[in-house]
């Protein structure tokens, strides 16, 4: 939570920021409005722009009440004094001002909208996947400038975080997870066990262990329902896996 863990991106390393409530080095001095603005719009209280690895492109879909609950949770943690590391990015990505441009190109701000023509479970799943679990941050391929390729959503990315490739999770049968049932997906997000009994590895195991595993069965079922309605895209991702 105190940050400092480098997140490797194809453009260089970015250090996760200190999000403990320390007044000087963390977010302890942030108001509710500061917090909501940072999460929704990717803008820090001093007006500077955040790098997109801070997944505000996904958090922007979060409801205000959920954001404030998250802030209350973070503020209940012990504050840790730790200066943020300077980021090691290669130009033009090291120029923070280019981020304003990047956001115009790739970022659509806006809270999640409920779809009446879909089931309750689907809507819940959509909200969880798009706003909270940010599966797309790893599983959607990116453009040369690092934006998500929206029309190839969830089709897998050769250059995921930490340099690991993240597979295609659209319902395409030969190259995606079209052969997985909803219960396969739920069990995978609970235990890391793939349908054949092999195990999740690398950053996927980390997000299961630290996050998805703790979701309720109802939420995991909603995620599975939503994923099964994604557009199937044929794309084999054969890049380097976790090592």
């Amino acid at each position: 939570m105190a940050g400092g863990r480098p997140i490797k991106t194809p453009f260089g390393s970015i250090y996760a920021t200190n999000i403990t409530p320390d007044i000087e080095t963390g977010i302890g001095a942030w108001s509710d409005a500061d917090f909501v603005r940072a999460m929704r719009e990717g803008i820090a209280p001093d007006g500077s722009h955040y790098y997109p690895v801070f997944p505000y492109t996904a958090f922007t879909r979060m409801r205000e009440r959920d954001l404030l609950d998250l802030k209350a949770y973070l503020f209940s943690l012990p504050p840790i004094r730790k200066k943020n590391e300077p980021n090691a990015l290669s130009p033009p990505f090291s120029w923070r001002s280019t981020l304003a441009l990047w956001k115009v190109l790739h970022f659509s701000e806006g809270e999640f909208e409920y779809r009446e023509d879909r089931s309750e479970a689907w809507n819940r799943g959509a909200y969880l996947v798009e706003a909270l679990a940010h599966c797309a941050e790893c599983h959607t391929p990116r453009t040369a400038t690092g934006g998500l390729l929206v029309d190839r959503a969830y089709a897998g990315s050769e250059e995921g975080p930490e340099g690991e490739s993240a597979p295609n999770i659209t319902p395409d049968k030969p190259t995606g997870v079209g052969a997985w049932s909803a219960s396969d997906m739920i069990w995978y997000l609970q235990s890391g066990f793939e349908p054949d009994g092999d195990t999740a590895q690398g950053v996927m195991w980390e997000v299961i262990e630290q996050g998805y595993q703790h979701l309720s069965e109802r939420d995991l079922d909603a995620i599975a329902v939503y994923l099964q309605t994604l557009k199937p895209i044929e794309q084999f991702v054969g890049g380097r896996s976790a090592d």
Binding site: W187, S191, F193, G197, D243
Partner: protein, 157 residues
């Protein structure tokens, strides 16, 4: 020591040495790797079978216990089957296994204990507790794979 005895003992030493080298050569790297991969595959199949019953809520609780005991027995082979060091290009094992052997054995022990708890839970017939114990088994597999295994894309599903 007279000269003949000296030569004799030197010869015997040589003979012992060559036989030791021979004994090493008998184990081809390919054979060592195939065996330990089969041990892992047994774990995979047992886990796949248990998972298929649990996640689909099939009424086969007794079968879960059989697979759990199989997994428990196989868990005891995870450390011994890696004792002989062997690696190949594009293989799944990292050199850290032998460089940090004690940590590797400790990671295997975590699986052994998780498998013991799985058997205990399966014996009670409580599916919820069994599923919980199986999730811990999954955690012990992944926690060892993270530092010690290279998973290739052709292992994806």
């Amino acid at each position: 020591m007279n000269v003949r005895l000296y030569i004799l003992s030197a010869l015997m030493c040589c003979a012992l040495l060559t036989s030791a080298v021979r004994a090493e050569e008998v184990h081809s790297a390919e054979g060592i790797i195939t065996y330990r991969e089969k041990v892992m595959d047994v774990l995979k199949y047992q886990s796949g079978a248990i998972g298929a019953i649990l996640k689909n809520k099939l009424p086969y609780g007794d079968d879960v216990l059989v697979h759990a005991k199989g997994l428990q027995a196989t868990s005891r082979l995870v450390a011994p089957s890696f004792k002989l060091k062997a690696m190949k290009d594009g293989g799944g094992a990292r050199a850290e296994i032998w460089a940090q052997w004690d940590e590797y054995v400790a990671a295997a022990k975590v699986l052994e204990e998780a498998a013991d708890r799985l058997v205990a839970a399966a014996e009670t017939g409580d599916t919820k507790a069994t599923a919980q114990a199986m999730r811990a088994v999954g955690g012990s597999c992944s926690s060892c794979h993270k530092p010690f295994r290279i998973k290739h894309a052709n292992h994806r599903h």
